[in-house]
């Protein structure tokens, strides 16, 4: 690679450009220079490409923005920022938001700087910090939100650790003082108890402790009421039920600043998957009924659910190789976002453009990022993918150190072939597998 890659000139030819933000959808060449999109269609005068990407039959879109991933879930975890940002760019993700329940917990400025430093060192995907809402996520004292905000946290969250109504109210009031929003995993803790599955026929048959939809319903209702009281921007993470979608729609109709996302596994699987896949399908919130699953898809289609995210949580074999209730909840998903999204397009008549918007423009807005558009003058954070390419993670390459997903041994259609961040090619799917090239510059 040329030493001064920041100034590298790249031409992308033969692809279909889809820009969810502007509605652009046509076969056009794309020219990049100095980290920015220089021209669309015809090359700028005197443009000589340092790198030519000839990708007929493929699609170019804005780099995916993942609302939620855990990169280094524990001190002794194999997964780390280093391994997971590779998985991210391999999945076409150019920006991802990292959960605070990481190691170390991002509840103070120093921890945020540490995280951003690690990400910068890798030079691959851009990592955005999600700040902890309370100190150590313990739900008692407020974190230094103003400082976290200054350090780059646009959203704060307490993760799966529950908050009393009083603390949530205070947190919302304080966060809104500084223009920050809250990402909430809305669930009533006493109803949820030690549950590990959805309270439905599958859970009842298996005799496992279950979490009723009502727990989510109560949690969402509470947080909507508090959002109304405090005027805070609230984002609902990983909505899992039809009731949940309905409540959010209702709150929005009343003019509240609410947004919501759905995790990719929840759109493809329901609670019966547990019978076949065991703890690989132990997720939080749990996979729910088929009716709920279809309501989530409908919610995504009609915009009540703004964004689709990976909800990535990589874990080692040991964590999953335990009896279901004792196994760790969570699935790896960075590299599945695109192929699974394409499957939804095919099966449910969602337009490709709308689906891409749910993974680019809308999560960007939720994270307070400037919307990337494929437009002259914009920063070139792009993903190029082959919508027809079939592959299987177990056989054809997987970069996350967490293989904990039922899709690991399944055939998927659609694969990212190139990822550009800041106009530099950081990932390429070669014949021997994925090739990574950290970028120079910020």
């Amino acid at each position: 690679m040329t030493s001064n890659r920041q100034h590298q000139r790249i031409a992308i030819l033969g692809a279909r450009l889809i820009d969810a933000a502007s509605g652009l959808d046509e076969q056009q060449a794309l020219y990049i220079d100095n980290g920015l999109i220089r021209a669309i269609g015809a090359p700028p005068a005197g443009f000589v490409a340092d790198l030519l990407l000839d990708v007929p039959g493929q699609i170019v879109c804005a780099g995916l923005v993942d609302l939620r991933a855990r990169l280094e879930p524990a001190e002794d975890s194999n997964a780390s920022v280093a391994s997971e940002v590779r998985a991210a760019v391999a999945g076409g993700i150019t920006s991802l938001a990292c959960m605070p329940d990481n190691y170390p917990t991002t509840d103070a400025r120093a921890a945020v700087h540490l995280l951003l430093g690690k990400a910068r060192e890798q030079g691959l995907a851009r990592v955005l910090p999600l700040g902890a809402l309370t100190r150590n996520l313990a739900g008692e004292q407020l974190s230094e939100m103003a400082r976290l905000g200054m350090a780059g946290c646009h959203l704060l969250t307490n993760g799966n650790a529950p908050l009393s109504s009083l603390i949530m109210r205070r947190a919302m009031e304080y966060a809104s003082t500084f223009g920050l929003g809250i990402m909430t995993f809305a669930e009533d803790p006493s109803l949820a108890g030690n549950g590990c599955v959805h309270e439905g026929s599958t859970g009842l048959k298996l005799g496992l402790q279950a979490i009723p939809v009502t727990a989510e319903e109560i949690g969402i209702s509470r947080d909507i009421a508090l959002a109304e009281l405090t005027g805070c921007k609230v984002h609902f993470a990983a909505v899992s039920s039809a009731r949940g979608v309905a409540l959010i729609a209702d709150g929005r109709n009343r003019g509240l600043a609410l947004t919501a996302d759905v995790a990719v596994h929840h759109l493809h699987l329901n609670d019966t998957a547990i019978l076949q896949y065991g703890s690989l399908c132990h997720l939080r919130p749990p996979l729910r009924s088929e009716t709920d699953r279809l309501a989530l898809i409908e919610g995504l289609k009609n915009g009540v659910l703004d964004a689709l995210c990976s909800d990535h949580l990589p874990c080692g074999e040991d964590a999953k190789m335990a009896p279901f209730p004792a196994s760790k909840a969570g699935a790896a998903g960075l590299e599945l976002l695109l192929p699974l999204a394409l499957q939804l397009v095919k099966e449910h008549g969602i337009s490709l453009s709308a689906m891409l918007a749910a993974m680019t423009a809308r999560p960007s807005a939720i994270l307070g990022l400037p919307t990337q558009e494929i437009r002259v003058g914009e920063v070139a954070d792009l993903a190029i993918f082959d919508p027809q390419r079939t592959w299987q993670p177990a056989l054809d390459g997987w970069h996350s150190l967490g293989k904990n997903t039922p899709f690991y041994r399944q055939s998927l259609t659609g694969r990212v072939t190139h990822t550009l961040v800041g106009g530099q090619l950081v990932y390429r799917l070669g014949d021997q597998g994925g090739e990574f090239d950290p970028r120079s510059g910020p």
Partner: protein, 327 residues
């Protein structure tokens, strides 16, 4: 990566022999009939005592009880010894369980000691299936109860007991009374009854322990009034009530439970004239069942105990541990 705790582990090997017994679900009806016939031959003609046979001589059966149990463990021990097997009992009650050592590591140590069969009881649903998935090809795993999920041998011995006194399963009306929500016995029992053709099964209890949603999930009729559930029943199965249900806000008190759901002669009058009473044990006298009823000739409770040994012997013999083609 394969997930742990997979609930659909294959129980038959390639030759069609029963290799694992993990749940009633997945078993063929012929297998149950075979188990019953084998149990018949293991009982003496008067059906009161069990003969010792050399069927499993030279085999090593390990009883791996992660959840404390004296009754079931002893029954399995006796059954294994009556088959002339060598029995090793490993008692790892949950609290003392190898802190930090994973379930599979514990089992792994034992596998390397030339075992042919593991009889496992564990407090978490799916744990025994997980073990079955991991053991070497020649080893059989028998579920002695996992969480609230499955307890197949109890269901088998209860079916065997019913078979001794009733001629036809299909026309039976069966009431199961008590804490079905937390009962692996109830789940296995219901599956066994359905496999044998029973269609009228009543799940009886307060809504906290017998929620209406059990109806769709298990294919039973939920009754919140004992009178409705007992109406015309041929078989009444009383489930044990655990003390902790009071502590965790499922029930207010044992005495109120007995008043509304306890089986007395009075309540028994609502059932069929020749109805029988069963209880997987141990019984809480005066809580689920009146002492007098438990000791009456309508009660099959002591038969269940004897049959428990014969049926477990039959199952272990049929599983022919140590002889299974690689899957």
């Amino acid at each position: 990566m394969n997930g742990g705790g997979v609930f659909t582990t294959h129980q038959y090997d390639d030759a069609g022999t029963l290799r694992h017994l993990l749940s009633i679900e997945g078993l063929r009806r012929e297998t149950l009939e075979e188990i019953f016939r084998t149990a018949d031959s293991l009982l003496e003609l008067d059906g009161q005592t069990v003969r010792k046979v050399p069927l499993l001589r030279g085999k090593t059966i390990v009883l791996l009880f992660f959840e404390a149990s004296t009754r079931t463990r002893t029954t399995f021990e006796i059954a294994a010894k009556r088959l002339s097997a060598d029995v090793v009992t490993v008692n790892l009650a949950a609290s003392s369980t190898t802190k930090g050592e994973s379930l599979l590591d514990t089992v792994g140590t034992l596998i390397s000691m030339r075992s042919d069969m593991f009889v496992v009881r564990h407090a978490e649903g799916g744990a025994v299936h997980l073990i079955a998935n991991q053991v070497a090809d020649h080893i059989s795993v028998l579920n002695a109860g996992d969480g609230c999920h499955s307890h197949p041998t109890q269901a088998l011995l209860d079916m065997y007991t019913i078979r001794q006194v009733k001629t036809d399963f299909a026309s039976l009306k069966v009431a199961i009374v008590g804490d079905l929500l937390h009962s692996r016995v109830a789940r296995s029992e219901i599956q066994a009854l359905q496999l044998l053709g029973v269609t009228d099964i009543r799940a009886v209890g307060p809504a906290t322990l017998a929620p209406k949603t059990l109806s769709a999930a298990l294919g039973v009729r939920v009754c919140h009034r004992l009178e409705d559930g007992l109406d015309g029943a041929d078989v009444v199965v009383m489930l044990r009530l655990q003390r902790e249900r009071m502590a965790s806000a499922f029930l207010p008190s044992e005495s109120e439970y007995f008043e509304n759901y306890g089986l007395t002669f009075d309540k028994l009058r609502l059932t069929a004239k020749d109805s029988v009473v069963m209880h997987p044990g141990p019984i809480n006298r005066g809580v689920e069942i009146d002492s007098a009823v438990a000791d009456s000739e309508r009660s099959l409770i002591s038969r269940q105990v004897t049959n428990g040994i014969a049926v477990r012997m039959a199952v272990m013999a049929l599983m022919n541990p140590g002889h299974h083609p690689a899957q």
